[in-house]
């Protein structure tokens, strides 16, 4: 098992390197760190800045220099905040992880329950309801759902309750004067909900079809022929097998979330990775863009790796 993990890990290293090259090429060709000096009255300023940043070197040399610095942890400095980019990303990452952890936990539980129920009671009224809901969930754009949530769960709900403060806040992560856990969840509830809609919809449909596949398998009939009670057939024999594909899909999806909650964080002003990225683009803070992309890609690759490893852990046929 350890050898399997190590082998997978080693395969990932060249992938990260190639990805960093591609992203470096892409970002250097589509962003211009000197753009903000264009309006300067000093005509030599842009040229001096290009020289200082090494932008006149061949791309290969630029990559080599950049990669050397990046590995050492020198990711440059934000043009706007003047803080180290690594500090900015680290801070944003912590906030993003909090959102991801909570919504993934929530979605995992709901998706598995819904998926199992829908498969076991296929074509029941509730199965149809879940199926329709998941289709709707997959079809509502994140930004639309977020705005609806703000409208109904913040404003309308406050009016209905007759409170001064809304039950759920729609901006930021903490109130200025309140750092309690309760306050955190009053801020985090709507972003978590927004993130969860698509995840639950996708995962529960996936789990349903995985369970249906498994429930039709010969070994389920064998278990029934042995006299194993139905509940145990479903939750032991079937679920244990159906979780194998779901787990890998979940791992891959969670990896993608690191670059995918741009919209949610932007709308709810959540100080995470997505917000950091949009702010950087809007403000022309190109120093943040490349490290941001590298880190996000690394998470995606890392969670793909995790998916592989989990597959091996859960399926004895792969393990050997």
């Amino acid at each position: 098992m350890l050898a399997y993990i190590v082998r997978r890990l080693l395969i990932s290293i060249p992938v990260v390197i190639v990805a960093s090259m591609v992203l470096f090429g892409f970002v250097s060709s589509s962003t211009d760190p000197t753009a903000r000096f264009r309006l300067s009255r000093d005509p030599t300023l842009v040229e001096r800045e290009r020289e200082r940043l090494g932008l006149n070197d061949p791309l290969v040399v630029q990559y080599k220099n950049w990669a050397g610095d990046f590995v050492k942890g020198e990711w440059g400095q934000s043009y706007i905040s003047r803080r180290a980019v690594s500090t900015e990303i680290w801070r944003a990452l912590k906030n993003t992880v909090q959102l991801i952890v909570w919504s993934v936990l929530l979605c995992m539980i709901v998706a598995i329950l819904v998926g199992v129920y829908s498969a076991v009671r296929q074509y029941s009224a509730l199965d149809y309801t879940f199926t329709t809901m998941s289709f709707v969930g997959l079809s509502i754009p994140t930004f639309f759902f977020a705005l609806l949530a703000i409208h109904f769960l913040t404003t309308e709900l406050r009016t209905w309750l007759g409170w001064d403060d809304p039950l759920f806040y729609s901006v930021g992560m903490h109130s200025a004067d309140d750092k309690s856990v309760l306050d955190f969840f009053r801020h985090a509830a709507l972003p978590i909900l927004t993130l969860s809609v698509q995840l639950v919809a996708g995962w529960s449909r996936y789990q349903r079809s995985a369970m249906l596949d498994v429930m039709g398998a010969d070994y389920i009939r064998t278990a029934r022929a042995k006299g194993v009670p139905r509940r145990k057939v479903v939750f032991k024999h079937a679920l244990r097998n159906a979780l194998i594909p779901l787990t890998t899909v979940m791992a891959v999806d969670v990896g993608a979330l690191f670059g995918g909650l741009i919209v949610t964080e932007y709308i709810f002003a959540w100080p995470g990775m997505g917000r950091l990225f949009v702010d950087a683009i809007v403000q022309g803070d190109t120093a943040v863009v490349l490290p941001w992309m590298i880190i996000t890609a690394t998470f995606i690759i890392g969670f793909n790796l995790l998916a592989d490893v989990l597959y091996g852990v859960l399926d004895p046929r792969i393990r050997h």
Partner: protein, 361 residues
Amino acid sequence: MADELETDFDIDALPAAVQPPGAVLSVRNLRVDFKTDDGIVKAVDDVSYDVFENEVLGIVGESGSGKTVSSLAILGLLPKTAEVSGQVIFRGRDLVGLNERALRTVRGNKISMVFQDALAALNPVFTVGHQIAEAIDVHRDLSRKELAAEVQDLLGIVGISNPKARADQYPHEYSGGMRQRAMIAMALANRPDVLIADEPTTALDVTIQAQVLEVFERVQAQTNSAILLITHDLGVVAGMADRVMVMYAGRQSEIGTVDEIFYEPRHPYTLSLLASLPRLDRGDRRDRLYRIKGQPPSLIRVPPGCPFNPRCPMAQTPDPCATEVPPLYSVSGGTEHRSACHFREQLAGVTVEQLRARVRA
């Protein structure tokens, strides 16, 4: 958990049903229908037979002849879309229509099954030992240690060497023949009265087939279980079975002892099957294999009259073969030899060679 052990359900408390003396399992007028979008599929149509203690009853037929469906119906293992009617009498009690809870006390305990493709029929994520132990654990209250010992015993019985180590392996680590042995061990776990084996050797190499059949013979000698052997392989039946039932299009064509079926067949379908068997002892290349014309009928639209009549080399159509459904007549001369053919008596003495010759002419 309440449903871990279900010994509280007493099957003998059910009302008694009539069975001939010595019969363990009696199937009476069994019908299985599937409602589909295209119509009703009559997978099993009015099938009745007995399985007696300590005997091997072979059920022979093509795919779609209803042999597998009828065996799954015995333990109520068909999907919910199946409509089952008739009686399945086990030790004097009718199992048809019993609820899951009641059926579970019989499944794997009194009646157990060996399935065709052992790789698919064993759960890939649990060890073989665990799956056998589970079969025991569902019906008997044993300690972990006793369970482990029992599992090793069972693996030993079916001829798996080094059972202690093998018990901790997963199905994919077994060879095809070993997996089928493990399936048999699992089916034997509670010394069942009836063992239903559905094409137990089909997926195996010829040499492995022989070994697995040997296991069945040894097992029967040791446990006295009655065996219901379902197969399309006439050779397997000839070697193993005491009695044979031939099925066609969901119906019984003929039933009798092995000798009656193989040497005095009284149904054209049985004759055709025998005629289509290649014979290694005859090198005459001009003697081509017999081919049954046409193909098995759709079970949604079974031909009127005798279902075999469109393919039958001796059918007299339309009357009576295409108009009248032949019931399972007793055949004169035999004791329990029955045939569903209008012309069963005229078939007396007709040999396979005669059929071949007649068709060639």
